[in-house]
């Protein structure tokens, strides 16, 4: 390579550098697009699905609609959900008939650390008792803290709002 070509290369390189700097310069004077988290937060996060939660019941606004069928438990790919309930056996006033059994929900344990937010539990729930929450900034330092009792969470939420 002779001297003439080397100079030509350098000039070419400098020229494309100038073009690139021109683009950068134009964008330098435009408003900033990045957000300095956590001093500022973004406002387009509402549509983002946070963890799974129990929704307020449609029939009974003070409770969840969950019928404890266990469909969500069986359909979850990672076994994140566990339905907890106790059976209350009541004596039937008519002695021949069967004893009356009612189920009382005591909790819906949800392990967020395994959840892939796929929505299988939500789509398969027969009474649409589950949904995605807006609680998207949830983070923990310890893995054992990342489980939730969704029923307790719903109750707390409802008692706060009422």
């Amino acid at each position: 390579m002779n001297l003439f070509e080397e100079i030509r290369e350098a000039v070419k390189g400098l020229y494309s550098l100038a073009v690139g700097m021109g683009v950068t310069g134009r964008y330098f004077v435009k408003p900033e697009v990045t957000v300095h988290y956590p001093r500022k937060t973004v406002d387009n996060i509402q549509t983002y699905s946070g963890h799974v939660e129990l929704l307020q019941g449609k029939k009974n606004p003070l409770e969840s609609d969950c019928i404890m069928c266990g469909t969500c438990e069986r359909n979850c790919p990672s076994g994140c959900l566990t339905v907890k309930y106790e059976e209350i056996v009541e004596e039937n006033p008519e002695p021949e008939k069967k004893k009356k059994k009612t189920k009382k929900m005591t909790g819906l344990i949800y392990d967020y650390s395994y959840c892939s937010l796929c929505g299988q539990c939500i789509e398969n729930c027969p009474v649409d008792a589950l949904g995605f929450s807006n609680h998207v900034y949830w983070a923990e330092f310890d893995r054992c803290n990342i489980t939730l009792d969704l029923l307790a969470r719903l109750r707390e939420k409802l008692s706060k709002s009422s």
Binding site: E9, K12, V19, V23, T47, S49, L117, C118
Partner: protein, 384 residues
């Protein structure tokens, strides 16, 4: 001698034993090397500044996706697909859903097909943008990734609106898609197309025409077509070597035959050709999105007869789609039960990586970084 006995793990020892001339330096690139973008390890034998032998070591990110397919039900396996290739998750979604739909003969409503095309192409642009930024970052240019992520953010916001996630989507369902798109999404997607059209010329000024960059890509990593074929390379790697092969045209699926788009092909075979293919593909994807938006029919997004429980008949099926990195194939064998008998995932990155060993021979170490980047590897997809 003593250091040789002590040095290296099993792979390094094997690599050393195949050495025909001792005294050359063995170098490990990875598994934590920034330019491999994941845990890929390449063992390299150096002769001065030149690479005399290279050998990729994979498996650091193996998550048994294929085995998981055999133990989970058809519905439960869905979220896995978003995690095989996190950059073009929707293409993997589509490959799996498409295979099951083909096996069970589930009809997909037309509106759902168009929504799939729109979202999948949008995801392809996102994937190419990440590659574009990251590749240039490997080559030492820092600014482009900022622009790329700014644009990608607009697309992610749109996809988030309908899928609820930003990266590992699980959006397609057997017989349709999970949620319908609304007017807000449609106008947002039109704006995104306009934005991309205004940004692509800027990318050209900033990067593609840049003389300094071209010096690092042109005539580097020349991949003859014969070699690309031999290794089964697909996608932009194959199209950069002059073969016009795109699954969307070669094995048409969904509504792609109704849409008008070109398959960009470049004959130079070098890293720059692969770069140009991807940039041109972004342009084509914008074209596809615009057409699909204007043709979007009304109707259901889920087939009314879509089964809640999948129990396909006995048999096997193969379905392939075009991902950002090449041909994504899902082979599914069913024994009639509620879980697949065998699920085989054909990932394009695996074939594209295999040719690196031969391609890197005799190149400078600094060029190997450029070659590796130009193959656009996603490591989770290689290991699966």
């Amino acid at each position: 001698m003593t250091t040789q006995n002590l040095a290296g793990d099993f792979y390094t020892q094997c690599f050393l034993s195949e050495q025909d001339e001792s005294g050359r330096v063995i170098l490990n690139m990875g598994p934590q090397h920034p330019s491999t973008h994941g845990v890929l390890r390449v063992i390299i034998e150096m002769e001065g500044e030149y690479i005399s032998r290279a050998e990729p070591v994979i498996g650091y990110l193996h998550r048994m996706h294929e085995k998981m397919g055999e133990v989970k039900t058809y519905h439960q396996y869905m979220p896995n697909m978003g995690r095989v290739d996190y950059l073009h998750a929707l293409a993997w979604n589509w490959a799996y859903i498409g295979a099951v739909e083909k096996l069970c003969q589930i009809e997909v409503p037309r509106r759902a097909e168009f929504i799939r095309v729109i979202t999948c192409e949008m995801n392809r642009i996102c994937s190419h943008l990440v590659w574009w930024g990251a590749y240039l970052l490997d080559l030492g240019a820092f600014t482009p990734i900022m622009y790329a992520f700014d644009d990608r953010e607009q697309a992610l916001d749109l996809l988030q609106m309908i899928t609820g996630s930003r990266l590992t989507y699980c959006y397609y369902r057997f017989g349709g898609v999970r949620t319908d798109i609304d007017n807000q999404f449609i106008s947002g997607a039109r704006d995104f197309c306009k934005l991309m059209k205004s940004r692509l010329p800027m990318y050209k000024d900033l990067v593609t025409d840049n003389y300094i960059l071209r010096k690092r890509c042109e005539e580097i990593g020349e991949l003859p077509l014969e070699m690309a074929r031999r290794y089964g390379a697909t996608g932009p790697v194959l199209r950069g070597s002059g073969q016009k092969y795109d699954v969307r045209r070669a094995e048409p699926y969904s509504v792609y035959p109704e849409l008008d788009f070109d398959i960009p092909v470049f004959n130079e075979c070098d890293a720059m050709a692969r770069y140009r293919v991807r940039v041109a593909e972004m342009e084509q994807s914008v074209r596809i999105i615009e057409q699909a938006l204007s043709k979007l029919p009304k109707g259901d997004v889920m087939a009314p007869k879509a089964p809640k429980r999948i129990k396909p008949p006995k048999g096997d099926v193969y379905f392939a789609v075009e991902g950002a990195r090449g041909k994504i194939g899902v082979y599914l064998a069913s024994d009639g039960s509620s879980t697949p008998y065998r699920l085989k995932l054909r990932s394009p990155s695996y074939s594209n990586l295999s040719l690196f060993a031969e391609l890197a021979q005799g190149t400078l170490l600094a060029d190997a970084v450029s070659i590796l980047g130009s193959l656009d590897l996603v490591i989770p997809e290689i290991d699966r």
